[in-house]
């Protein structure tokens, strides 16, 4: 522990947990935020819970917390905007910088970055609503079917919690899936469906380099890990660590660490992959603000690793303060 950290320990750290916002994932964010706030209070930190609204900037200016823990899901929280704002206010925050958040939040860009780094990811096309309107949906969808072959997964290019996501097994369902997707965003990522084991790997960096937590295997009762399966305890069975061969555990862990490194992330991230029998690991996406609810994956991984949520979050806060001081001192 250096002198700065020791000085921090002498006074109670004051942290703003930022949750809520106006994204479609507000409800999830509020629940994640409450959990983080309680965990930090349990570690003796002074916590102020704030929503993202017109009062936020004046409150941050007045309160001048030692750090901010953004637990905002969806746009603004994950697209870099709130982190840009915190930079403007010279406030340290937990997690990744604006540009890296923006890159990661854009699933097609993140996939491309990982592909360049040698990580396999399902074949896909990215199409804005305008493309269908201008070129004709029938022709574009026919080209999609020819290129990717069904089944495919249709999802918003930006977003989380599986909102607007559909698995399409029949061409007749494709238009409806596109509509559901465009209800949540203007650009669709249409990805080849990969059958296999769904695994989430969380990565934590509290100053000693990124460390992957035990992979969590996700086995939903229904067709896929949709919103209901994510946030209703009991509808999904989790295995932590995942029931995978040792070399596969290593492979998924390496994929998550590579994603964290290639995307330039800090603090915490969660990478989702599919493990195909005999065909390796396929990268799906990475989250810079992973869910922290009672049914979320990162807290399960922490528990399996024998780590306490509060202690880990407090360490992330201290690391964010330390990093900010290091940057300021350069």
């Amino acid at each position: 522990m250096n002198a700065d950290q020791q000085a921090s320990e002498m006074t109670t750290l004051r942290v703003v947990v930022l949750a809520g916002g106006l994204s479609h994932e507000r409800d999830v964010s509020v629940r994640s935020g409450r959990r983080i706030a309680e965990a930090l209070r349990g570690e003796g930190l002074e916590v102020l819970e704030l929503d993202m609204d017109a009062a936020l900037v004046p409150t941050l200016r007045t309160e001048r917390p030692d750090a901010v823990f953004p637990v905002l899901h969806g746009a603004a929280g994950e697209d870099g905007a709130i982190r840009d704002l915190l930079d403007l206010l010279d406030l340290p925050y937990v997690g990744s910088a604006p540009a890296e958040s923006r890159l990661t939040y854009d699933k097609p860009l993140a996939k491309a970055a990982l592909r360049r780094a040698g990580i396999e990811t399902p074949g896909s096309v990215v199409l804005p609503h305008a493309a269908f309107r201008e070129l004709g949906a029938a022709e574009v969808l026919r080209a999609v079917e020819e290129k990717l072959n069904l089944p495919v997964v249709v999802k918003p290019a930006k977003g989380g919690s599986a909102l607007g996501v559909s698995i399409v097994r029949d061409a007749a369902e494709l238009p409806g899936a596109m509509v559901a997707c465009f209800s949540y965003g203007d650009t669709a990522l249409i990805e080849q469906y990969v059958a296999g084991t769904e695994v989430a790997i969380s990565v934590i960096d509290i100053g000693e380099g990124p460390v992957a937590l035990p992979p969590v295997e996700i086995v939903p009762d229904g067709a896929f890990y949709d919103y209901t399966a994510r946030y209703t305890a009991g509808l999904t069975e989790f295995f932590t660590p995942a029931r995978l061969a040792a070399e596969t555990i290593t492979a998924v862990t390496e994929a998550a660490l590579t994603a964290h490194r290639v995307l330039g992330l800090q603090g915490l991230s969660r990478t989702d992959v599919i493990v195909q029998p005999h065909a390796g690991v396929k990268y799906l996406e990475t989250n810079v603000a992973p869910g922290m609810t009672e049914t979320s994956l990162l807290p399960q991984a922490l528990e399996a690793a024998g780590l306490d949520l509060g202690a880990t979050c407090a360490a992330l806060v201290r690391q964010a303060i330390s990093t900010a001081r290091g940057v300021a001192g350069q």
Binding site: H24, S166, G176, F182, Y227, A242, A304
Partner: protein
């Protein structure tokens, strides 16, 4: 780090839940209502009474006087069927709608929602069937679902529940050897349809039910909130044995006090009281005595008139802006009272799939599917004009018009605006929370 591999469903009580609990799940639609509560969003979803029109000084005086005179009673347990004086006052109120009854036949409940729950509890076994309008009150459907009661929807026309369709449905059920436990209807300023049954229609519905030997549950929270001055006569006014009447102070005074009532035949009211005692021992004495004092000491009917004007102004704003901003092919009801306009969207537009786009545009409504037990209503939505200011209503409807234009463009592009097959929300999870009832 542990290396033990075991499945975890994150809820150790999973095996203990009752069968009926399994449909209580998280839902995408319900989560969107979390955004609707933010001030940036014009919520045309919430059916919340406009309490701003109620003088807090008046309420404060009533509470102060009540505590001074009857504080010892107000803070104590009371009787299971409610405060005797309040029951007398309820008799005076329902008399405005032509109902003659005795205080002994009034059971005070925790909002009329509890009355609905008690009625269903004492009459219905799992698998029983009841008949309700299509669409019907989302909170009632929630109760029926919770008691595992089948709901047979009967169509409405511009005058509410359609008698011919009702008669045919009862005959069809009878032919199947099924007798519905009751017909549930909201005859006045219907939620969500905004329609009222004319007197002749009410008589016809009552006659059909009497002939078939079927009980009527008349849910009437909005009866005093008509914009045209006259107060409709209740169905219960014409049959004290075959109709159970449910009323509420939530819309005429304060929803937060949670006081409603049932007027029931004496045998039924005994059962209701016993069921109420099992559920809550007694309705809250504090709330009951506050209301009783308010009714006794304040010109409460003037307050009702104030509420009518508040809601009429908002109704007008909603109807004017709908006419201005809705695309061709959209139709809507024109309520003469109550809180709601029922909107039918152009062919092919799906209100449920459209909701995320609406929330992005900072406007919220309740999709029509919430008001049916079986996934109908995708082409409908309910607009509540009761709570926002008239300007906010206009802005909300303007935003909704923009969302619909985008949706029509999607329809034009893809030939559909419905999500993937099978995604129609038909379970409890798709219903909005208490502030959107």
């Amino acid at each position: 780090m542990t290396t033990e591999s075991h499945g975890n469903r994150l809820d150790p009580h999973l095996a203990r839940y009752a069968q009926r609990t399994h449909s209580m799940t998280a839902s995408e639609i319900r989560s969107l209502f979390a955004v609707a509560s933010r001030p940036e969003v014009v919520s045309l979803a919430g059916g919340m009474p406009n309490i701003a029109a109620l003088s807090m000084d008046v309420v404060s005086r009533s509470v102060t006087e009540m505590l001074a005179k009857r504080g010892q009673v107000a803070l104590q347990y009371g009787s299971g069927n409610g405060d005797p004086r309040l029951r007398e006052q309820i008799c005076d109120i329902v008399a405005l709608q032509g109902i003659t009854t005795h205080p002994d036949d009034v059971v005070v409940t925790v909002g009329s929602q509890m009355a609905l729950d008690l009625v269903t509890r004492i009459f219905c076994d799992p698998g029983d069937v009841i008949v309700a309008e299509a669409p019907s009150y989302v909170g009632a459907l929630g109760v029926f679902r919770a008691y595992q009661v089948g709901v047979e929807h009967v169509a409405m026309d511009e005058h509410g529940l359609e008698p011919t369709a009702l008669r045919e449905r009862l005959e069809t059920l009878a032919a199947q050897g099924r007798t519905p436990k009751f017909v549930y209807t909201i005859p006045t300023f219907h939620n969500p349809a905004g329609l009222s049954q004319p007197q002749q229609r009410r008589a016809e519905i009552l006659q059909i039910c009497q002939s078939a030997g079927v009980l009527v549950i008349e849910d009437d929270p909005y009866g005093l909130l008509g914009f045209e001055g006259s107060i409709p006569e209740a169905i219960r006014a014409h049959d004290s044995d075959g109709v159970i009447y449910l009323g509420s102070f939530s819309k005429t005074f304060a929803a937060g006090l949670r006081v409603g009532w049932a007027v029931a035949p004496h045998g039924v009211r005994e059962k209701l009281t016993l069921a109420a005692e099992a559920a809550v021992l007694c309705p809250p004495a504090y709330s009951q005595l506050t209301i009783s004092t308010y009714l006794e000491t304040q010109p409460w009917m003037d307050q009702v008139k104030t509420f009518r004007e508040v809601y009429r102004e908002r109704r007008d704003a909603a109807l004017e802006s709908l006419a201005q901003f809705m695309p061709a092919g959209t139709t809507w009801t024109r309520p003469d009272g109550g809180f709601y306009v029922w909107v039918t969207l152009p062919d092919g537009i799906d209100a449920t799939s459209m909701l995320p786009r609406a929330v992005t545009a900072r406007v919220a409504y309740v999709p029509g599917t919430a008001f049916y037990i079986d996934g109908q209503g995708r082409q409908n939505l309910r607009i509540s004009y009761c709570f926002p200011t008239p300007d906010a209503i206009r802005e909300g409807v303007r935003r909704l018009g923009g969302v619909l234009e985008e949706e029509l463009e999607l329809l034009n592009t893809f030939g559909t605006t419905a999500g993937p097959a099978g995604s129609a929300p038909t379970d409890q999870a798709a219903a909005p929370g208490p502030q959107t009832l």
